[in-house]
């Protein structure tokens, strides 16, 4: 009986491992082809490169794609947006969790709606133009904040429910003001929620394509994801360079994922289930 069971589990294990090839093969394909010469990469095969072209490819991508500049742009936009989202949505989530009443209800409704309906692109474009923020990093950062705010606020709101009110009262008795109570006492208890917000928002904004496509339409203000398109052109597609660029863009996110996996997963599930 036991042996039969072991055998069945072994089959399931082998099946699962084979299934994971569906994910792994395309990834391997990208990496291995980013090591090849242009002609070899154009054949789109899985074999190892006949001639290793690693340094040349990556050096070309960095130079021609202006990766360092794009990297700096994307990092600045992402970091500022994430920091502002964390602070503003934690504050909002705190009050919305602690107070009941009409104002809370109205804000709750507006925020929930923001989780569902799509951003109104054309009027947003008009607003940016009117405020002279079109094709600027400030404009894009403000849009990222507006889009990230509802999800993060709801996530914080859920987590604040687990912090007893007595703690706030204790902080007030000790002589903290509202802000002191919040930033010195309550907020530090929410490290897991904060980590989750940081990571999910970082990944969303780092990987974003829509907003920069619409609102950063300028040759000097490009972000990482748009650099890939430099290597598609009138002289044919440089797949080796495209794949090298894909690898470069993915590395920071994969590092973050490796270190912070548990926060991503707990955050995704908490956010989704409360949805």
């Amino acid at each position: 009986m036991k042996r039969k069971n072991n055998f069945k589990m072994l089959l399931i294990e082998v099946f699962s491992l084979l299934l994971s090839l569906v994910v792994l093969v395309p990834m391997y394909f990208v990496v291995v082809n980013s090591f090849k010469t242009q002609n070899e990469a154009a054949e789109m095969l899985l074999g190892l490169p006949a001639k290793m072209n690693i340094i040349e490819n990556y050096a070309t991508v960095f130079k021609e794609g202006n990766i360092l500049c794009a990297f700096a742009n994307t990092s600045i936009v992402t970091c500022i947006s994430v920091v502002v989202i964390v602070i503003t949505s934690a504050m909002a989530g705190f009050v919305l969790q602690r107070r009941k009443g009409t104002i809370t209800k109205i804000n709750d409704f507006l925020i929930l709606a923001g989780l569902i309906v799509p951003p109104a692109i054309v009027p947003l474009f008009w607003i940016l133009k009117t405020l002279h923020l079109d094709s600027t990093f400030q404009g894009v950062i403000l849009i990222y904040i507006a889009i990230g705010f509802p999800f993060s606020t709801m996530l914080y709101k859920g987590f604040f429910g687990t912090i007893p009110k007595e703690l706030d009262e204790a902080a007030l008795i000790e002589g903290c003001g509202s802000l002191g109570m919040f930033f010195r006492v309550v907020m530090p208890l929410l490290k897991p929620a904060t980590m989750t917000v940081i990571i999910t928002q970082f990944m969303t904004i780092w990987n974003d394509f829509n907003i920069s496509l619409y609102f950063l339409n300028s040759p000097t203000r490009f972000t990482l994801t748009t650099t890939i398109y430099f290597f598609f052109g009138q002289f044919g597609n440089y797949w080796n360079l495209v794949f090298a660029d894909v690898v470069i863009i993915a590395i920071p996110v994969l590092i973050l994922y490796a270190f912070a996996q548990k926060y991503i997963i707990s955050g995704m599930t908490a956010g989704a289930i409360k949805g």
């Binding site: 395309p26 705190f94 109104a120 607003i127 889009i147 990987n207 995704m268």
Partner: protein, 290 residues
Amino acid sequence: MKKRVSEYYSYNFLIPGMSVYFIFFIIPTILLFVFSFTNWSLDTFEFNGIENFKSIVMESNLNIAFKNTFIFTIVTTVVKVALGLGLALLLNMDLKSKVALRTIFYFPVVLSTVAVGLTFSSLFHPTTGLVNRLLDGIGLSALAMDWLGNTNLVIYSVCSVEIWKWTGFGMVIFLAGLQSIPTEYYEAIAIDGANKWEQFKYVTFPLLRGSFNSVVLLSVIGGLKVFDIVYVTTNGGPGTASEVISSAIFKNFSYGYFGLASAGGLTLFIIVSIIVFPLQMYLSKKEVEL
């Protein structure tokens, strides 16, 4: 006089976040109702009644966009839920490699859509793409197709890219749901003599209802709004064969037809609202009934 504690939870805390949210999300949404009835472009701005909506209904391109958006939403939701649940059940078993496998299956979720889309456009290449080579290799050449060039097939190929990228997300939510089910329930129903299917039907699935609802809702919302994966893999082509609502809006926007693009945005807003809000109510009612 001493302040009441509730006064320390000042509504001022809402101001920083809500003001940005208000200016860059809520006001644009309200303005959508104005701009949709104009022929606004960079130099002209006048009301033209329901002209924009007439064009939306008349233009066959846009009809294709509506049809494709619904196909995309339904196909990806059904497959992502089924595969995500299947993977979660599989990786909830006592496998030696389960931790590694969970990580692998979640991998695509953290990758950028642009990177994934471009990679698949090379995998789907009709002559040199890996998908067709693989089919040739295992003797199924008859199934090799022009995945992104065949007008009847293209939207389903795009669906498959979305499914590849997002199945791991559903899996993680289902896994969390599965792990919260107490094992006593299974012991109890096993004593009653239930088989595996009955266990799933009477214990697992009802208790996974919350996870199920989340995955369905998020997938429907994402499906109706889909843009980047279409833009990157096919840009709506060949011709307009894989156009979706958001990609049609983008095209009108980039041609400078801001009025028409706004009307498209308003239409999408209405479609999302009339599908998602009732769906959410229906699903949460189901959850309460249990």
